[in-house]
Symmetry: D3
Subunit: 76 residues, 6 copies
């Protein structure tokens, strides 16, 4: 009975989108549940998947909020 | 000094509500803190409880977003 | 379909025990699942509970590992 | 830069194994990272995957530790 | 490649603010990433920091939602 | 009343150590609690810090277990 938590930044990654789309969420849920069935024999019905979208200013990498990190900028 | 994280879908479960109500949240906080006191002797003041409400499209079970799973439907 | 994560320090809280006992774990699982049924109408079968025991040196409070905090000591 | 946390019970699911094998862990890591690339265009190098194995007595479902739940037994 | 999750109540702690400010978030990200470099030699670029702001009514301590706990009140 | 969860790989990062040392853990707890006091005015006593050490084979990056990723090898 696996539990999977997926955290991604809240931003669009498909054309015209400003956030993860319902289709992308469905594909993540489907894909990771199927993976646990294929690799470990876990029945689909016993896997919970929780997707959390995190605002860009709340995600840090390289010691900076992710947008500043991507911009290669260290301007405060 | 326990820490308890409770994740539930964001939807109403009491009459007329479209989300977990403040009363339900208080009851969860009270109940789980009391449980840790009763079972393990943890003082109420040393237990943190964090409730997270998760949008229905972000919660997966059975390889599907929860609403589709409940509907027994696999229609995209 | 709630998911509950309970983190406690790994230490005995019942006579003669040096860790959470299986009976205590069962009582936590039972109690929190019942709470979600009582407060929010969530069926027992749809609640997952995961208990994590955390070594004392890995738990901090008051800016100190928990054992030093309890002892009121800041000796290294 | 996604972060994925996968929690599974600590038990063997392949022949002769009493826990998740290194090969299964590699397959989970590979599969979920590839999924995030395919669905959301996230580069493999920017995805972290953390697998947590949870002792059977620490995982509850149906108001019982998972082994009792599977056995359909409520005997203490 | 550390992952750090920081959960705080959603409320202002600087003059005139009603939530954690972008400057405070940047300082948290910077400070904790630097700490992991100083203490454990972890390169800045390999540390992820995720800040989660939790609504006051979703945070419990002392068996009560945090605002009631602070007010020392048990009034419903 | 912040809660901070720090996940690191279980391996030595100081001379002769094969895991995070108690001194490093104390420094992490102290540093992150102080940071929350300095940046947000949170009293030391109201911050919980939980450190989780994750076995190398359970941590993935770049679609591989971390040791293989570091070795630049994709050999199974």
């Amino acid at each position: 009975m696996p539990y999977v938590n997926i955290q991604v930044t809240r931003e669009g990654t498909s054309p015209g989108a400003s956030a993860t789309t319902p289709e992308q969420k469905r594909a993540l849920i489907q894909g990771v549940s199927q993976l646990l069935l294929d690799v470990m024999g876990k029945p689909l019905a016993s896997t919970f998947v929780v997707i959390e979208e995190v605002d860009l200013e709340n995600w840090g990498v390289g010691g900076l909020p992710v947008q500043e990190f991507r911009a290669g900028s260290k301007v405060p």
